[in-house]
Amino acid sequence: MNQLKLASVGALTLAASTLSHTAQAEDLTLCWAAWDPANALVELSKDFEKESGHTMNFEFVPWPNFADRMLNELNSGGKLCDLLIGDSQWIGGGAENGHYVKLNDFFDSAGISMDDFAPATVYAYSTWPKGTPNYYALPAMGDANGWFYRKDWFERDDIKAAYKEATGAELGEPKTQKEMLQIAQFFQEREIDGKKVYGAAIFTERGSEGITMGATSALYPWGFKYENTPGKYDMEGAVNSAEAVEALEFYKEFYKTATPPGYTNSYMGESLDAFKSGQVAMAMNWFAFFPGLYADPDTGGDKIDFFVNPPQNQAGSTLGGQGISVVSYSDKQEASLEYIKWFANPEVQAKWWSVGGYSAHNSVLNADTFKDSAPFAGDFLLAMENVQDFWQEPAYAELLLAMQKRVHDFVVADKGTAKEALDMLIEDWTEVFEDEGKL
């Protein structure tokens, strides 16, 4: 009888524990862009599934449609995503429109300190209003626009000699934007191993954010600013400054004289294709792709090297990267916060870097071994010191589309001058800020 009681109690305890576990286990969906780091995150998240008992599902959308798809999802109050790794520029809209859960209380209770993350990433990915201690995301993926090149070509004696003869300079990693253009022009339509190659692959895409991300990689090093006084929206003289005009003209010259034919609507994918197919000597792209590029059997390894976006009047790189947020429409916010707590763990962050993600955690970035852990790690640190981001306003999409149009019109479609393009951009942006009641 005692044995029977014992067995019954045991069975009940087992059933109760199973039931309680089942009640807590959730099916979480994490939304992000479809790219290499997302695949790395799938692998990484298997540890979370083991530890927590929750199941992770993933919704990855190709980059050209990512903003469209996800912003529509948020605007409609959709429950598809419990966690969202959203672009840095969405933080304003995410916070003001109530799409993201404010994380301050959670950070306090979970012992997560923003001081443990690189300041540039906290500023860009987490805070709204900018720079205030109001956190709507945890820095998840540090990123910036950088460059890579055919090291094997740059080291060839015949090519080095030809470059010296053509320019009087030594061929090597460019130290300025203008030097980079000179190198790209040198390679343009040059025959290497019986094949015609071109200077560089840059961003010219019209539909989403491509040409803006590319052109700002020239604008920032020239000293481009969005406002004369931060927060005042006084753009006249800043957006269309003489430096900004020169930088935009530079980007157009780069496009016209040093890119492959037909490169009129190109973004990340086209840049990777152009490089991997041996078509270009250099290419711009996000650091996120660099692990994959380095591992490429044909153009990676000894054949490739990386450099930070070169300075001109100052150092400056276009910010990429994202923070991870909890979607306020999710019914599984507790489990989602559990994921963020797990992800913020320094050990997980170290593993995140090792599997191909870009951790923004100081324990990873400040480690003695970090700079030598990958051929692009040092450049990544350098880039993150001088990153600048696009407007992060709630009306970011309107601001971005206006810039896409004005820059593409000038650079690719030869419409007007750089000054006119930037003047019209100010008009567009002024109209948006007036609609927003900020001007």
Partner: protein, 314 residues
């Protein structure tokens, strides 16, 4: 038992239903039948239209939690004074005119040839109509490859006939060529549709009319202009109406091919509208733009249909 249909229906109707229907007038029964359709029409077409008209007078943004204000005709004023909108209307007009021109010309010519009796007639008809069976997304994608300046077949064909370097011109990237590149693709895809309608028109002309003309010693050219063209004209006008309405709202093919670029030279009104409505989320503004486009299409189509009816009456 009577064999009349009405009696069979009456006898087959369950008594319970019959009791309810009994006493209903023909008009009431008619309303029961058309009611669901009218309800769906109101719910799916009329209500959204009225709602869009209402939104067009506001500053509403679907992605923002802020109070909606009625701003009168301000959205309409801004649209009509916006040079970018007029440029997109110009791009639409260019696309519309030239696609209709080429599709009617080539479509009629193909129908004329296919209408002749020759061996393999059916096979050629099938081959010609293949493009219109494809998805616009697929067509847009593979024409993007065909137009690629370094590996694209189109550039090599042009190079073969003209001797110019294939990578020296960019169909999708050049401001001058991009508007023509989308005209070419749309013409390739939809000319078979015009051809089929013209073919139906040509085959509807009785042979005896031509035989009478032959007896009257009318030349082939005279037969063409006095018999063929007038009798096919209503069909041709119908084809122009269908293609005109379709191309006025052209979106998918152009987005696949150029995305509205380079710059904004191929940004059709529909692409502009989509950007305003679902990327910038200017709901009030885009509603006004949609109403303007609707009135334009509706107005032009009404005038055209009147002209078509006059031609048919002749």
């Amino acid at each position: 038992m009577s064999d009349k249909t009405i009696d069979r229906v009456a006898s087959a109707t369950p008594a319970r239903v019959a009791r309810k229907v009994k006493g209903l007038s023909d008009r009431a029964i008619a309303w029961i039948f058309v009611g669901p359709t009218i309800f769906l029409l109101l719910a799916i077409n009329i209500f959204p239209l009225i709602w869009t008209i209402n939104l067009s007078f506001t500053n509403f943004k679907a992605n923002r939690n802020r109070e909606v204000e009625y701003i009168g005709l301000r959205n309409y004023e801004r649209i009509l004074g916006d040079s970018d909108i007029w440029l997109s209307m110009q791009a639409t007009a260019h696309f519309l005119f030239w696609t209709l021109f080429f599709q009617v010309l080539i479509g009629f010519a193909l129908a004329w040839l296919i209408n002749k009796k020759f061996r393999g007639n059916d096979l050629w008809t099938t081959i010609i109509v293949l493009p219109m069976m494809l998805s616009p997304a697929v067509v847009g994608n593979f024409w993007t490859f065909l137009y690629q300046p370094q590996i694209g077949l189109f550039n090599y064909v042009v190079s073969f006939f003209t001797g110019v370097d294939p990578s020296s011109f960019e169909m999708l990237g050049s401001v001058d060529l991009a508007p023509w590149s989308i005209v070419i693709v749309d013409t390739w895809m939809w000319t078979p549709f015009v051809m089929l309608i013209c073919l139906a028109g040509l085959r509807s002309i009785p042979d005896y009319i031509y035989e009478a003309a032959e007896i009257d010693r009318a030349s082939k050219l005279r037969q063409f202009f006095t018999i063929t063209i007038p009798m096919v004209l209503p069909f041709l006008m119908l084809a122009v109406l269908f293609r005109g309405i379709e191309n006025f709202k052209m979106f998918d093919l152009v987005v696949q091919l150029t995305g509205g670029g380079p710059g904004s030279v191929t940004e059709m009104a529909s692409i502009n509208l989509k950007r305003e409505a679902f990327e910038k989320w200017r709901t009030g503004y885009s509603s006004a733009f949609a109403i303007i486009l609707f009135v334009t299409v509706f107005g032009l189509a009404s005038i055209y249909v009147k002209a078509l009816n006059k031609v048919k009456e002749r």
